[in-house]
Structure formats: C-alpha cells, structure tokens
Symmetry: C2
Subunit: 703 residues, 2 copies
C-alpha cells in the first residue's frame, strides 16, 4: 500500500527553486543526491532549469503521468498546485507548506478542502506542514532534511518535523541506518495509523518507531497497532504526558492530546513498547532491529572491569531481569582458558588487560550456556584495550541465538569500536544501564507476544432491560442514574445485588423488609440529594418491622425539614450486605480510546494511595485478573497474616460484566460500582452501590 | 592537605620501564606529556635511562628528598619499594600494583603491613591496586591513563580504575575538563572520606564527583560529606544497589557493600546528590560546575521546535519543577521582536528557521523575567540552523544570574555547536529530559543548602533506669527485651505507656486492675512464648474484677496445658489504650551508618504497601516530621474525608525520643514500637507495645 508515496517512479516538486537554502531547492537537491533513479520533475513558472533538470511552468506542460507530487508553494497557492497534481494522475501528494490548521480556523478550513479534494479522487495526502519523507531502499530523499541515512530495518514516523531532523542527524553521527522516515505533519488525510499499517506490511521495515503528540482515532489505532505489533516491534514516544506538556501540545499542533493514562492503557493493550525518554526511542529500536528476541530474562554479563559489571548487575536486578547462574561446565571451561584472576562467575570479568580473543572466549561460553537468555558485553578503555578489534571479535563469534547488547563506555578511545559495532549490527549503549533497559524492553515485548489469544467472554444478560432504563433517563433528560435504577441495570447484567425495592409508604417499607429479610438498610431516594448520609437519609442494620416503620417516618420528616425543595421518590429498602473486602469497579470513557475500566481497593487505597489500574474495555478474563494483580495492594486480596484469599475470580468476573455493559452502551460515559463487596472463595461478591452517568447529547441523537 | 600527593615537586616512579605499554613506562610518559614542571625520578635497577630521563637503581642512589613516590613493581617487591620511599622522605606514596586484599587473605595481610609502615612514619598511602592520580592545575598526570584533561572545576574520586579511564575518555570526547582525579583502589590508608575532605578544602575543586562501591567508615563519611556539601556540590554514584550487584561487589573489592537504603539515608542526610545512572553523574556535575545555582524551580524553555519543547515541559512537570508563567511584559517584548508565528508563551518557540540572534532575544527576555529561575535552551538541527553560531550567541548573552542548561539534539550537524557550548561553560545534554534532570538535581541541592540548622532536641529522660534494665538483660544473656521491660525503658524515656504491672496471682491482677482503672487488657508474660494470642494468652476489654480474676485463672490453666514447658512469669495487666491511628516507630542499626529510624503507618501499610521512610539517627524535629510527610499515606494522618488530623507533632516527638534512646544505647540493635497509637490533636500518643533486641557480644565486652 501507499506505493505512489513510497516507491514512485515520477516525482514532481511544485515550487522547485534555484535558490539554495529554499525548501523547494533543497528537496530537488536531496532527491538528486540520494540517487533517486526515477524522473524528477521540477515545477516553477519562473525558472527553466533547477539543478540541471528541465523545469516546467506547470504539470500540464510536462504532460506525462506523475506518481508523487511534493508541494512547496506559498499557502495560498497550495490548492491550485494540488488540483494540478491530481489532474496529472498523482497517486499521492505531500504538502510541505505550513500555515494551515496550526495557525487557526481559516487555515483549518483550507486544510479540510485539500483533504476533501484528495479523497474525492482517491489520492492520498501527506501533511500539510511536514518535512517530507525518505525511503532508503528506494534511494529517495523526498524531504528537505539533508541527511540520507544508509538502508536498514528501522522505519520512523514523526509528528514533529524538527524531531525527525534531529533523529536523522543523530543516526548519521552513530552510523545507523533507517528504512523509511515520514513526517506526518497536520495529518489532514494520512495519519499515524495509516503509516503504522503501511510499515507493518512493508517487508523492509523490521521495527517501527514513532514520535506522537496526538492520535487521530483511538479505536483504529489500537486495532492497527495490535495487528502490527503481532508482526514486528513498535516503539513509540508520546509527548504531552504532563499538564504543562499538554498545554504546549495544543498550542503547537491544534490537536488535543488525550490523557496520558489512556495512552498508557492503549499502548499496553496493543503491544506497543512505550519509550519514556527521547534517547530510549532508539535505544530500544536498535536492539530490536539488530538482535534476535530473547527466550527468557536470564542475563550474562561480560566485562573488563568490576565496577561497570556491578552497574550492569544492579540494572538487571532493578529492572526485574535475572543475573543468570552460569552452569558449572561454563565456569570450568572459562577457568581453563581465562587468566587465574578472572572472575568466571556472572558478571564474567575478563580483566582490564583483556585482548579481543578473551572477549570472544567469554562470548562463546555465554552463548553456549542454556541458562543464559541474553548477553550484555561491557568494555572500558584501559591501557591495553583494543576497542575496534574487540568489536570485530565479538561480532565474529555472535551465533544469532541470543541477543547481544554492548556498552563501550568512554568517548574518544572507544569511538572506532563503536563504528565497528554499528557496522556489525551490534547495538551499543553509552552505559550498561541503557543496554539493560533496552533488553528489558525486548523481554516485555516477548511477554506480550506470548500472551494467549484474546477471547472476550460474552455473558448471557438481559440487555433490553438495561436499555429500557437508559432510554427512560435519556427521554427525561436525567444525566445521572441513581442507586435504585443503577442496581436494576446491574441486575440485568447478572450482578449480585442485595434484594431491595423502593417504598413509598411506611407500610410498603415494612412489607419489603419482610420480603427481603432482616437486617435491612434504608436510603432516601431523590434525584436532588447527593449526600444522603449528611441529611440523615441513610440508616443501616434495622432488625424488625417497628424499626423499619419508625425509620421511614423519621427519614421522610427529617429530610423534608432539612431540604424542603427536594423531590422525594421514596425510601429504598434492601437487605444488608454481608461483610467483606470493599473494592471499586469503575469506568470512564476516554475521548480517544473509549471505555477505560478501573479497579482498585476501596476507600483510602483509591483516594490516598492512588493504587488503581486501568484497562481498555473490553477485557478478557486474564486481563481482568491482571488489573487486580497490578495493584500494589493485591496481597490484601490474596490474604495476609493468615487471612483467607477473597474471591479473586469473582472480582475479575465483575470487571468483565462491567466491561460488557459499558461496551454494549456507548451512552454510559462514567460509572462506579462502589463498593463492590467481596468475601472469601465460594461466596459471590455483591454490588452494594452504583452510579451511572449518561451522555445526554449523544442520547438525544440516538432516540 | 595532602600536598605531597597533589602538588609534589619531586616524583619518583619506582618500576619505571623502557618498554612502551608497561605501566611503569606509561606513568613516566604521562608525567612528561602532561607538562609536569617538577623533577621526575625513574627508578629501575636494570635501566640507565627512561624516556630521556636518568634512571636510578634505587632512591638511595638518587640521594635527594622525594615528595611523592609512585610504585609499580611486582607485588612481592612493593614493601621494599615502600620502605625505600619512606627513607627518601616521601610525604605520600601511590601503590599502583595489584594483588593485595582483592585476591585473598595473604594479600590482605601484606596490604595491612604497607598501611602500618606508612602510618608509623606519617606517610599517606594511596591504593594499592589503583590507576594513579591526576592534578590538571599542577600539570601532573601521575596515572597510567593516557588522557590528560584540560583544567576545570570538577574533581573525581573513583573506586574503580576502569571507570576512571572511561570518565577521562568521555571527558576528552566532550571537550570537558577536570580538576583532580584519584583512583582510590583498595583504600589501605587514604579512602573516599579523606579525598572528600581534601577536595572540600581544595580551591580548584568546585564540584566533587565520585564512584563508590563501599564506604570505609559510615560515621566519618556522613560528618565529612555534610561539611563538604555545605561548601560545594557532591555527586556520587553508589554501585551495588541490588543484591546481584552486591554479590558482584563483594567478589570484586573484597569489601561488603552496605544496604542500599542506608546509603540513601546517609546521602540524604549529608546533602550528597545521588546519581542513579552512570550518565547522570556528569550530567549533574557539569551543570553544577558550569552554572550558578537556581533561586527557585520556575523554568523557562526556549526551543526552535514544538515537539522537543513539549518534551522539556513534560520533564519539568514530571520532575516536580514548574513551567514558569512569563510576565506579560516579557511576552509583549518578545512579540515585538519575534516573527508572528513564534510562540511567546512558555515554551518560547523561536521557530524552525531561527537564526542565532532570535535565540539571543529569547534568552535575554527569559533572564530578565523575575518569574523565571532557570532557562532550558533546545536546538534541533533544521535547514537554516547554525549550531555553532547559535551556541556563541547564547553564551554571549548569558548574564550569570540564572542557570542555563542546553540541549542540542541530533549528532553530526550539532557537533560544532556542542564544542562551542563546552568552551563557553554551557552544560549541554543529548535530550531535553536529561537537561531538566540536571536542573532538578540543582534545585534539590539548593533546597538542602537552605535547610535550617540541625538542632537535635535532647529530652530530659531517666537514662540510668533504661541502662539498668539493659544491663540486667546483658548479664542474663537475654537478647530480646519483651513487652514488660521494654515498656519500662520507654517510660524511662517519657513515652506515654498505658499504666500496667505484672501480676503473679489472680488477687494481684485484680488489685492492679483496680489501680490502673477499667477496662484492662491482660497478656501472659513468658520468655518462651512468642505468639501469645495463639495460645489464648491475650484478653482485651475486661471490665471488672470478676472478669479479671476469671481471666487470670483461665489463662494460667490454658497456657500450662498447651505449653507445659514454658516458664511463666505472670500476667501483665494494663489499662486498655484509647483508639486511634496505629503507626510503627522502629530502628535498625546499619553496620556502616549506625541507627536508622523507621516510620510507617501500621499493619498493611508496612507489610503490604511497604510505605515506610528511613532516616539516620539522631533526627531533628523537622527531620522527624519529614519522615512522616514522605510516606504516601501521610494524607491519612492529616485526615481525609473530613476526619480530623492526628497529633502529627506527637508522632514526630516519639521518633525523636526513640532517636535519643537508640543513640544513647549502641547496644540496642533493633527496636519496634508497634503499635504507636495516635489520636487527634491535643491527645498524647501511646506506645502500646515494644520489642527491643540487644547486641549481646558487644554487651559482654562492655560489662
């Protein structure tokens, strides 16, 4: 897909210029310098020739079919240039020119017109307001960034042109190649999801890397990213995580950045590896591009100095990987060949005077040891150290069975070695910690790849009953569904809700209490009263009919005195819940990624400790359980100090039912089941209270 | 101090060699090449001349006074060389040779002999097993690492010679200078604390940097580091934080690394800035060495690209700094001078085509704005970017009032700019995040410097009473002090302990209960019974004399039945504690840093959430309060959901009294006050249980 964009035969540059430094000049120069083998068609009415190529006043005069048109003319002339490109048969257009959505409403309108024009004719549009694109495997630098990387397996998409240039400049410095690079600009048509898909299908792209500030469609993104990540690693950096960052993001791109937690959940769900810092983007990408995936997390460390070996071992353990225990046979073999002072435990210390072949010996031993899943090699530049020759020696004995990540520490002296490492596909890091962090990213990706198939359970429920209640609220324009009706909805989804009914007289209350069984709880029901307890509107543990009758009368009297204007629907009478651990199940609908489920232990664990986890709905049984396991307070559910475990699977099922409910009804934009009371194994958890918020505007449209 | 080491006039190199590559050759070569202006005396019985210098068979033949002797001869010959050096009047000796403590007991013995020899004669010994030292301001490279850095204000001490070479190599690559560099080796005599002190007093050292695997004396270290940090910043990396790292550390240096948490507490206490990664060591050090300290944490960001500006803003907020709100006048001034598309909010976006003077304008505006405490400048290499000239423009308009940290992102194109930055004392980072992290380290250091004077309150206590109880336990070789005697000790230190006494008959129990007041708690007392409750040995809330009498009899009967061999001392009868929030005060004695106090909320907060803080004893009132504030659950003490705050100062006072107790009695090696029950403001907290563990071996010596 996107052949016209990535592998065009004929490229028009509209706005080609004879003046060096001008964008329209640089693009033509870059196309020539990158060795592009197709036809370059400069277009400029006031030039006959650009950089030795015949220049046309317009594409009509050129008269032949064009595959890709790159437009770099003043904003006011872009539309005409685009029309001309479409008439010339372009399959894709790249608009470099800025001054559209990012500058205001008028620009946004013009941008929209460009997108509509293209869509009508089936032409794909990249930009506007972008740097252009590069395809090293097609010898094409169709951007105004001068560096043309060597061909490799890393493809980059960047929502910031400047960052793309920084990446290209860095890659040149580190002798690293790229496959494709696109600067996606304002995303009038082609967006991050289109490029994810294109790179996923592209054989030359082994690893996908991206810098994003916003995502155009969350649903699409998750679907495409999950499919892509199943084929190859995706490493993304998402800017605008803090509120300050978001402010900057909205003034920069005119697009609203989604909440950070939702992005985290979306990346987690779709197997995207999240880079937390700028440097980690390529730290991870080079590891993935250059080395095989590890089969486990047991790490051997080879070093010519104790200190950095300790650093690496610290990092391995702190990141949750394991310092491998080497086989006795490995140690014995090393002992025979290494000097007596060398350490043949892990870290393997080949000593400060280690020549290249000593590194090779250690490498071979570590690769052979089946207790080792990955190898970290560290070199410090000591008096006898031959960095370049050691790099070659390591490369020579690499057997491709396990990932090997290298840290040549230092600067001047190790630089020749670093060049060799890059040339030999050995990812190299300035510190042991960064090498280990990259390995950890690999291990996480492997774990995601090995997840079982995602099968979302559909429980048999009474969907119509829930729908009826929701529709009633939409019709009466009642945004909040209170406890009584909320519990009816939960009952429809087969949640275990304490038996209870609404009483409108004290006799009513007694007969309900008799029916549901004592002790009961009674709560005033009124759309106008949020904090029932404060007004004396909640009473618990009522044990007989007299108490129920008295409570009903007293409650009505008190509440009427204290809040005379409140509309009172009656009193809800329900059987008291049995005791147990209180947890919260919740949902909030992210504007980008839709329903996000929340789990946490009740009370202070949510409010003070912020000990909650989120997951995109719908969830599988395994994912629901992981939401529990990922809280710090999980041990409390499993039971501490001899307490019995609560019914973990019961909570997980509650999350799944909630997931089904909020997936069935997009009108529900927020929901809490709080508390959800869970007892020991063998008992069924109880949904003790429920609050649901509806999207009335959306509801009005649907009715 | 250490003049003979750092500014010698005459240096002997014992083991000087004519063979290039040999350590004894490289040291002479490095001394010559570094431009050392004093006398170099090569010593080697089998050479007449080394590198053009007259070589002597021994120092006696040389016949003149030597200041510093550098010894690089085989291990077996070191002692003789050392004796010769001492006779030649050396003030300091550096032993490069390895093969001592790090290889085993015999080596350790030999090493000890060297140390004793030196101590007797007042000669300071550096090493053995080290790289040597460098003093750029004395034009002296007395090491076998070939790079001689330019003079600057950063002094380095490293417990790993290899890491020192990596640092030198990196500094050469980044055009960064150093002041002094020492490789401390096995620390037979001079250790990290000696060098900390020397660098603290050294005018040429503006910032102290260190890599440590162990600390020789915790007490000394804290004292010296605190004094040094009050004068200048100290940035330390401590290896061996994980258990795997520790394993590697002990096999490497033969020294036991202290627990990571104790090091953290010691660094925190003494104002040492801890570098968490290898790269952050110099990220921080260059910021401190090159720029003034910030007066606050409000950060202005200047950038020529939106994306990296967002990255910086994200980092500022995530690290707890503040994205400054620029004054209206600043924005107006910028608006007048910058192109209309530029953003004059913070981040200030000078646009992708920014020439150097646009950066200068923004810099001047940010420096003038008194709502700004620090400036982060970001440059990405775009088509029109002039990296070197921009670096010079930034440097020219720096007024020294606020720290300016720079990130020139990219590689090849920005390299000329980076060189200029280093030359102009502008710290430069490969990513905005790393620049912000360095600024954060500066802010933390400023906060530490501004702390009020540390005044430890001494409470009037009955120290003799506590001493008597402790001595009794030492005499009877009873390691654990139980609840009854533990509470007596707490009473002696004026803790509020519920009134109670030991009863040995049921009548006794009743009369005690009558005296202390009902309701009471009763607990069986026996050195043989750890889990009293399990045996029915604890009863709570007894309301009258009959209940007390019955309980006594039943308890004695039951416990005798269930554990007939246990020695029963009686039953402890005490008034029931009032209810309140349960917290834990504790202490564990670190082998390096002595008593470490612990605070945490009781029960699951300690056991499951691990939500505890540590601080070295003794603590001030402010530090005790900080221990509370630094727990995640602190909000629970302050009161959530309309609850009243508990008596925070009461807890802090409890920590201070505990601090005084464990400082007074080094024999106490572990202690828990759990629970320490604290009620609302105006009430006095209660120490409801206490366990104390003594160091019997130490006790036996003292008695």
């Amino acid at each position: 897909m996107l052949e016209a964009l990535f592998t065009p035969q004929t490229i028009a540059v509209i706005g080609a210029s004879r003046t060096p430094g001008k964008v329209g000049h640089e693009i033509v120069a870059n196309l020539i310098n990158s060795g592009f083998e197709g036809t370059i068609v400069p277009v400029n009415p006031s030039a006959n020739e650009v950089l030795g190529l015949k220049c046309y006043p317009d594409l009509k005069t050129f008269g032949q079919k064009v595959d890709l048109s790159i437009i770099s003319v003043p904003t006011g002339l872009v539309k005409t240039a685009l029309e001309g490109s479409i008439q010339a048969g372009c399959g894709a257009v790249t608009v470099i020119t800025a001054g559209f959505k990012e500058v205001g409403a008028e620009g946004a309108k013009l941008e929209q017109e460009l997108a509509v024009l293209c869509r009508k004719r089936g032409v794909r549009l990249m930009g506007p307001n972008c740097l252009g694109l590069i395809n090293t495997h097609h010898k094409m630098n169709a951007s105004f960034a001068k560096q043309m990387p060597l061909p490799s397996g890393i493809s980059v998409l960047s929502q910031s042109g400047a960052l793309a240039t920084a990446i290209l400049d860095w890659a040149a410095f580190r002798h690293l190649g790229l496959a494709k690079m696109v600067s996606i600009g304002n995303k009038a048509d082609l967006n991050e999801t289109d490029f994810l898909q294109a790179f996923a299908e592209d054989e030359q792209s082994k690893v996908i890397v991206g810098y994003l500030e916003s995502i155009s469609s969350g649903d699409e993104f998750v679907k495409v990213a999950e499919a892509a990540a199943s084929k190859k690693p995706i490493v993304l950096f998402k800017a605008g995580t803090s509120s300050a960052g978001q402010k900057a993001a909205s003034s920069h791109t005119g697009s609203l950045a989604g909440a950070d937690i939702a992005y985290g959940a979306a990346f987690h769900r779709s197997g995207v590896i999240r880079a937390e810092t700028f440097e980690s983007i390529f730290d991870y990408a080079t590891a993935f591009a250059m080395q095989p995936l590890p089969k486990g997390n047991r790490v051997a460390i080879i070093t010519n100095a104790g200190g950095p070996g300790i650093m690496a071992a610290d990092a391995v353990e702190n990141m949750g990987l394991v310092v491998a225990s080497l086989h006795d046979s490995t140690a014995t073999a090393l002992k025979d060949k290494l000097p007596p002072a060398a350490s043949v435990a892990n870290p393997i210390d080949v000593l400060g005077d280690a020549p290249p072949d000593r590194y090779a010996l250690a490498m071979e031993a570590a690769q052979k040891d089946d207790g080792v899943d990955a190898v970290i090699v560290i070199l410090t530049p000591q008096a006898m150290t031959e960095a370049a020759e050691t790099a070659r020696a390591i490369a020579r004995c690499m057997d491709g069975s396990k990932p090997v990540l290298v840290s040549f520490m230092g600067g001047l002296d190790v630089m020749p070695g670093r060049k060799e490492l890059a040339a030999s596909n050995l990812p190299d890091y300035p510190s042991p910690e960064r090498a280990v962090a990259a390995l950890k990213a690999m291990c996480d990706y492997v774990a995601w790849r090995q997840r079982p198939p995602r099968i979302v359970t559909r429980f048999p429920v009474n969907r119509h009953r829930a729908e009826r209640i929701i529709k009633q609220h939409i019709r009466s324009e009642t945004k909040n569904i209170g406890e009584v009706k909320g519990k009816d909805i939960l009952r429809a989804y087969n949640f275990n809700v304490p038996p209870g009914e609404l009483a409108v007289t004290s006799e009513d209350a007694v007969s309900i209490a008799d029916r549901v069984g004592y002790p009961v709880a009674m709560k005033i029901v009124s759309p106008d009263i949020l904090h029932k307890s404060d007004l004396g509107g909640v009473k618990l543990n009522l044990n007989n009919s007299t108490e129920v009758q008295d409570t009903y009368d007293l409650m009505m009297m008190r509440v009427k005195q204290r809040m005379p204007q409140a509309h009172l629907e009656g009193v809800y009478v329900e059987r008291m819940c049995t005791k147990g651990r209180e947890v919260i199940l919740g949902m909030t609908r992210d504007p980008q990624f839709g329903p996000m489920l929340m789990f946490g232990l009740g009370g202070i664990f949510v409010e003070v400790m912020k000990d909650v986890t989120f997951h995109l709905a719908p969830v599988t049984a395994r994912e629901a359980k992981q939401m529990l396991e990922m809280t710090r307070s999980y041990a409390l559910l499993k039971g501490v100090r001899g307490q019995r475990s609560v019914n973990i699977d019961g909570i997980a099922e509650g999350i799944q039912r909630l997931s089904q409910l909020v997936t069935d009804f997009p009108l529900i934009i927020e929901m809490d089941i709080n508390p959800f009371i869970v007892g020991p194994l063998g008992t069924e958890p109880v949904a003790a209270d429920a609050r649901i918020t509806l999207n009335l505007e959306m509801g009005a449209k649907l009715l």
